[in-house]
Symmetry: C2
Subunit: 83 residues, 2 copies
């Protein structure tokens, strides 16, 4: 079966996020001063063959740990859906 893994990667809370700070500054300039915090990370989708959604989740987890996320500085969330 074909599965889609949607992976959200964000800098961990408490760590500096200079990109987020820059975007927060921009929010005031485009008329959105109500925005009080911005964090910027990566969104990655993987299409894959797997026997079950558990197997797809395990593959996405391996991808995060070995390649996609820097586990010291970033956290990740994985969503799996059948295609």
């Amino acid at each position: 079966m074909k599965f889609l893994a949607e992976i959200e990667i964000l800098p961990k809370k408490g760590l500096l996020d200079p990109q987020g700070k820059a975007v927060l500054h921009g929010m005031g300039q485009i008329g959105l001063p109500q925005v009080s915090d911005v964090r910027v990370g990566k969104f990655i989708t993987l299409e894959m063959e797997a026997a079950s959604s558990e197997e797809a989740h395990a593959a996405a987890e391996t991808a995060c740990k070995k390649l996609l996320a820097n586990l010291i500085m970033e956290g990740y969330r994985i969503r799996i859906s059948a295609q």
Copy 2:
């Protein structure tokens, strides 16, 4: 009320995604040849004050159109949750 907007930004289908192609190549090298497609985009969270989730959604939409996404090359999805 405080709301969190979670924004996923991806290159539009059919457009070149060189980062995605590079990551796809890496998938084979870390033992995940079952991954057949990768797309790489941005994940951005905004914390804001708003009177309703509709108002928060409208602010996030403005942020995407004016600052966060390149609408020629990227599409975006917004999720709003109350904090």
